[in-house]
């Protein structure tokens, strides 16, 4: 059967679909920390993932990194049943933003570990400090090719001052 209209061969958009069942399966792992996602919260996180990928001009393949992010952060002392879903959603957006800021020089695992380290450490559970101070400084070091970008706090080079606009 002849095609009446010339059809473009190239696929127009590729964003891998993660279904909510896959994400909610993480509850099996996180329930021991008292953290569970409802169906509605799962949909909100997936929507945040989708808009973040589009905003920051990224595409994700396969299963994505959401399950890795959840498993990395679920033992954080700053997560509780009230803030769990919103924190995960915010961390998702920060993750994709800082993958760009680090010029894709950090692997998923490395960036998640650094985010967790700063979040539980000098940021004291503050997403604002994490996003606007700690990670900005760290990724600046990555961009300039400096080797020990995970040791800023040890070297006393991590500024977590009140004036977040300084950077």
């Amino acid at each position: 059967m002849k095609m009446e209209k010339q059809q473009s061969f190239l696929p127009q958009a590729i964003i891998s679909q993660i279904n909510k069942t896959e994400l909610m399966a993480c509850n099996d792992y996180t329930k021991k920390y008292g953290l569970l996602l409802t169906e509605e919260e799962t949909m909100q996180i997936l929507e945040r993932r989708k808009t973040s990928l589009q905003s920051y001009g990224r595409i994700e393949i396969g299963g994505g990194m959401l399950d890795k992010l959840i498993k990395e952060f679920c033992d954080s002392p700053y997560l509780n049943s009230q803030n769990y879903a919103s924190t995960i959603a915010e961390l998702t957006e920060l993750f994709y933003y800082f993958k760009n800021e680090a010029l894709d020089k950090l692997s998923d695992e490395e960036l998640l570990k650094i985010m967790h380290m700063y979040f539980d450490g000098p940021c004291g559970g503050s997403l604002e400090l994490l996003g606007q101070s700690a990670l900005e400084q760290m990724t600046r070091h990555v961009r300039y090719g400096e080797a020990e970008y995970t040791k800023l706090e040890e070297r006393g080079e991590l500024y977590m001052g009140d004036d977040l606009n300084e950077y």
């Binding site: 095609m3 473009s8 061969f9 990224r58 396969g62 993958k99």
Partner: protein, 458 residues
Amino acid sequence: MNTSLTKASRMDRSRILSHNYTQTYIEEAARVGLLTPLDVTNLQLSLVKLLERQIQRYTRFESSSVKVETAEGLMRSILYALDVRLKQLKGEIEEGVTLLKEKTLETLFIEGFNLINEKFNKCKTYFQKVKETRLKVDNYAYNDTMEYAFTEFFGFYEAEFSYQSPMPDIDYPLCIDDMQEENTDYIYMYLKKLYHENLFCNSFPVAEIQTLLDSSHPHQSEMLINIFEYVLINAIGRQLANKDLKHLELSEGDCQSLQMQFETQLDIQMLVEEAVNEIIKSLHVVGFLKHYMLEALPPIVKRIKANVENDTLNQIFIPFKLGTKVEKVHFTDGESLEDERFKKMIEAVCSSQLVVEKLMIFKENVHSLKDTIDFLEAECLFGKEYRALYKSLSLPEISLLLKYTSISDEQSFKTHLQEVQNDKSLLKPWEMELVYFLANKEAAQRAQLWLVVQNINV
């Protein structure tokens, strides 16, 4: 009588584009029904799977996401490998459809990038030959291309990620440049042609090639010209002037004789072609180079005809001008002050009220062009103080300052002078004062200055 019937191709070759071969091939096959909508969908799904595979391999399985630009580049690399594989088929156009149905896209992709790898290795071979036949001439684009353009390409190219890999930064133009090719196909063709151009030029003394180039334009060394074309044209001129092909020299008299010869000739194209065929025979040129020389003729013939009409043949056949080469001077800067010392010097100048004192501080401390420019830009002088400073500098020193401005000849100087006088200048204060300083010089003195400016490299 040939009784075999050739099956008419259902696919229209003109709809299949060289640069988007796979994509347009599949679209055309679908248009004529050789691929069903289901076939096309399956191919699309295979392409997406292949892209996912390549993203994983490109990120070494360390990232689940990449920037859209990266994914687009990876898609281009995949399609380029598929293009190379499909273009390899030399039979009926429909053979590609059979291939797409019998083999997976992943298999075709791997076969394609193996072919790209082979082409890359051939590029290396030709580059070695190009280096061995390199002409020792003073032309920046030629030498820069030889020495630096291919370094990153040969160091870091990966066939699997052909569009993420560095491409050569080529400045030097070929006589015939085919932009239809892409990636390694283009580079292979470029190097092959460059090698053969070098081969032809090596038939003549390199000193004469240099004289030919210098006679063509005083600034030829900075121009994007094709050396082979100049050599070929003068060789044609010598052949038509019944001179031997051991040299390239032509005189103004030769150009005038050629003018008369062309004016009396009905078919200039035939005359030139005969000359080239004689050159080919005399220099024992065969194969690729022979075809290349003949392919180069049409635009050359067109230019000859135009110059015959205008009686300007000496603009295409270049008469030698001996002794016209102006040697370029290469400037090496002196040692600059440390930041702290420089800062203290500026403070001292700013706090001084006397021009003499300011100039003394300048002379004692500033010994490099860099510091001189920084000093002028620090704006610690005012009005005529600049001119006092310029008066204390030598002609070469003034010419070095001018290299940092947009004032390089009499024309640009006059333009800037007018703008400064009409208060419409965008020049910095020190540059404006320099214009005033130059305005007080005789035109002959300025002419000397422009000559130095144009022949000094900083």
